[in-house]
């Protein structure tokens, strides 16, 4: 005997399938929005902070001072001063949350024989590779013998200061 029972089962099956598809879509859709968004914002905040810190270090305090602290640091290889200034800028507390920031800094220049060299400036912690670090850079003009053992007198050179920074 043929009746409508089979037809009912088919409709029920299709509806159940649709609900399962919908549920899967919801689950996948919801998670894919969360993760990348959060990580990106956090990186952006760190990057802005690092760029600002380098920009402030490259600003002389008044017109009588001709060289910025950052220029002086590169010229005199004063890594500890860089460390103090950079950590002071990045970890200084306003009214918001405290930031426990670590960094590793170096500068890069091109020698007359076109070799690229990147001597370290200073670091608060060694970069092991496991950190989720962001990279900020700043071009600085320094009056310095580069490479240091060069026979030429010091001259104005552009060097790229590069800092990796990450949260502890």
């Amino acid at each position: 005997m043929v009746n409508s029972g089979g037809q009912l089962y088919t409709i029920e099956g299709v509806a159940a399938g649709l609900i399962m598809l919908l549920t899967a879509y919801l689950v996948v859709g919801a998670t894919s929005v969360y993760t990348p968004g959060d990580a990106h914002i956090s990186d952006m905040q760190l990057e802005v902070l690092g760029s600002d810190a380098l920009a402030m270090m490259d600003t002389p305090p008044n017109s009588s001072v001709t060289e910025s602290p950052l220029q002086q640091i590169i010229e005199t290889d004063d890594g500890s001063r860089f460390r103090n200034l950079f950590l002071n800028y990045t970890n200084v507390s306003g009214y918001g949350p405290k930031h426990d920031i670590q960094f590793s800094a170096s500068y890069t220049y091109e020698a007359p024989d076109t070799t690229i060299t990147s001597p370290p400036i200073n670091s608060s912690r060694n970069l092991t590779g496991g950190e989720h670090a962001v990279r900020v850079t700043k071009w600085v003009i320094v009056n310095k013998k580069l490479p240091p053992l060069s026979a030429d007198p010091p001259e104005n050179r552009a060097v790229l200061v590069e800092v990796h920074l990450w949260r502890d």
């Binding site: 649709l18 609900i19 919801a30 810190a53 800028y89 200084v92 009214y95 918001g96």
Partner: protein, 349 residues
Amino acid sequence: MLAFIWIASMIPGILLNLQSNTIDFDAVAYRTGVILAEDPGWPSSPPWEFYGDNQKYEISRFGMAIAKDSPGVLSQDKVNRFFCSSFMYPDDYQKWAIFGDYPYRFNISVKDIDGGTGQSVGDVLPDRYGYIRRLVKIKGTSNTSIGSAYFVAHKYINNTITAIPSDFNVTRHEFSILINNTKLREEQKSPAYQIDPTRDQIIINITDLRSTIFPGYNPGYIPSIDRSSVNISLTSIKVYKLDGGTLSMVRTFDTPYIDGSSTPKAPPVIVQDNISLIINPRIFDIMQTGYSNVYLNLTFEMQDHAVPPNPLNSSFLNNTLTTPFDYNYHPANVTQPQLRDAVMEVAVW
């Protein structure tokens, strides 16, 4: 079944809204941080911070940077005006700094690290919020203190300090200060270090006035004098503008601070020893002194109340015979604008 499917289809939208709001808070905080730290705001001339409370609805956008070319260097005048209590939280700030239709709550603060002060506007921070922190510099004001050593070195006392009685006996007491806007603009191009009287306050302190009465007094020439009984009266401060070779008086300056008082007093006024002129940039902006020379002329009168009277009129501060005091980039004349470290924080929720 259809109703169930329809309701279920709305769930992604709800979830998306919840999450996108969190991202949005950070993004709005970032955007607000950029607007405030890197933009000078709008209108730019006259700048928004000059608009009084009655004209505040003409403001289009807040911004605290001194100029577009100097992002991250804030103007002290703009910072003070931004946190001025005449702006209403949250409406005014929402309109001119946060933007958007969503009724955000927020907290914006600027902490002057070198100055040790802080200003903020907004609600108390909740547990979760969108956040950005900007490291900035605040451009301080330039100022000068003209005292006895300076008067002597630049012959600003109207005798040559030979202590010959005839040299003391003078009646004209005028002290002139020059603000050469053309030179100020040309000698320093960077807005971060420029002395710009149309945008930044300038402070002129004139001290040790009493020391200029009978300077270099020699009892051999004048038997007895009584400095303390001579009243110094500041009769007027006139502002002249030199435009195209024509010198014209534009206005008087009526708000000098006398002898360290916290309220200004209009001349004529009796001065014991010092005068402070705190010149608001609005004064220069209204006079349209972009590239003109401006002279501030202080006129004094001496009133001798000594008994018996001093035998002569006293000499006093006067540089009409020499040169006006030049408010310039020379560190010996003027303490240059100093950039102070500060932190700007924006929290949005």
